[in-house]
Amino acid sequence: MPRIFSYILHKNGAADDSALELIAAAGKIDPSQPPAAVVCGWGRELDEVCQKLRASYAEVWRIGCEPLAYPDAELLRMVLARALPPGSILLVPHGHFGVDLSPGLAIRWNAAYAPDVVDIEGVDGRWLKIVRQEYAGIISARYRCDISGGAVLNLRPGAFRPVEMAPVSGQVIDHSANAGELTARRTHLETIPAEIGDVDITREAVLVSVGRGIEDRENIAIAEDLAEAMGAAVSCSRPVVDAKWLDKSRQVGSSGKTVRPKVYLACGISGSFQHMAGLKGNPFVVAINKNPKAPIFRVADIGIVDDILEFLPELASRVREETAIPGRERRRP
């Protein structure tokens, strides 16, 4: 069995939650082999992460050099290709960094690459059996992955539940010397933070959120009308922003905002994992979708199969009857 490594994402001296999820995933590949952590970066923050990881990783490979102060996948691919033993299995969280790093690393290693893995079902000879989701989560697929020459596996955040474990008091081993000369043909210039927009959906208690099912720019008014009746704000999923029907600041998801409402009305939203990743704090989720097989129904509390373009206006007028108090102004005029 090849050696297993976890790639640790970190920020401000703290490891990402995925650091523990990767241990759980490694246990599903080879229960007898605890994985080693690979931590790349620079300076005091790097040392802080390495020290913290000693509680959960028996071996922490520290790779520190100044160009790695910002995690740029083009540089890190070069570093990992040199520093890890040939034929290793590297586990990487599947996100904007993993998508940038991993396909090319697998080619550099001449190893297998499996993206967005949601489960691991064990090993059969040289084949690792994995589960992925396709068609935006509508259907699951079983794959086998030849790990005899090593592998890069990108694992979906949240898919592997961390296992309870006693602290291990691991050792930090410095591998910085193996990083080698770093020359990049892609240079990180700056990072521009997201804009807040006219409404800060991260502060709203109730969200009426619309997806592709809203079908047209004009229909956004239907959601706005319901939101007004409920005293809620309108948010959306990615396709609505792509079509420029709502501003990017209204998007819920891993590439949009992370929201923590009390109540979330998902209207015509299929429920991709990227969207659901932006919904935190265990809200009461009502899904309304005309497709009874929409993945959102697997994660919502309440499901309604109906056409939102007809359902939402009727709901709005019923809500107005409920909340109409003569002389009282609505919170959101």
């Binding site: 690459y113 967005d116 892609r186 309440i302």
Partner: protein, 263 residues
Amino acid sequence: MDVLVCVKRVPDTAENEIVSNADGTDIEREDLTYSINEPDNYAVEEALQIASRTGGKVTVVTVGGEDDEDILRREMAMGAHQGVLLADDGFQGSDGRGVAAILKAFVETRRFDLILTGVQADDGCAQVGGMLAAMLDYPFASLVTSIEVVEGGKLKIAREIEGGSREIHAIDLPCVLSIQTGINEPRYVGMRGIRQVASLPIPRFGAPEMAVALGYAGRQNAKVVRDGYYVPAASGGAEMLQGSREEVIEKLVELLKAKGGLN
């Protein structure tokens, strides 16, 4: 700048219900309609805008068979100057690495300044662009949300990262970029546009015309193999509200009141 855009034909999820077939070996393909992978339209639109700003041609390429000519023609109707089909019996069953190797072999027969792909396709792998860049030893960036051509054979690009933030990079040409949806508004293609390109020839290249590295393409070289599909068991899914629309709305209003959804 001459731009290559790699595109893919996929089942149209807006028109079809995606289910597994009887023995679970594949999705049910009977009566399935196909279309261009929607994210690829953003890549083609971006390529057309860059080519018109800088002068140059846009080529669209796909790995597949005769049926894939339709999507190449669709992108030609958008304005791509040429469509190229890479087809060979030996390409069948290739994994992402195999597809990248076939594309690499084609790229090496021409000269492109820039290679674009859509952010991902039906299988959600988002892998071929990054693999192709590594095989060509070109720089790569994924999830690109803006491209600006600057002096000195460079681009200034933005990548979308978490929370809607953007990373700005300078990247050398030639390079490979995977284009995020929403970067632009892909132009509309009408039936008339499709008819105008209906008779244009689509050159086809197979293994003999390109130096495809043995050991990559085809089923026998795949390192990653899909064994089948299944519909995940609905564990603890939503409580479905049943009844007439009026009844459903009554139940929902009561629930919303109880959960603090009406303010």
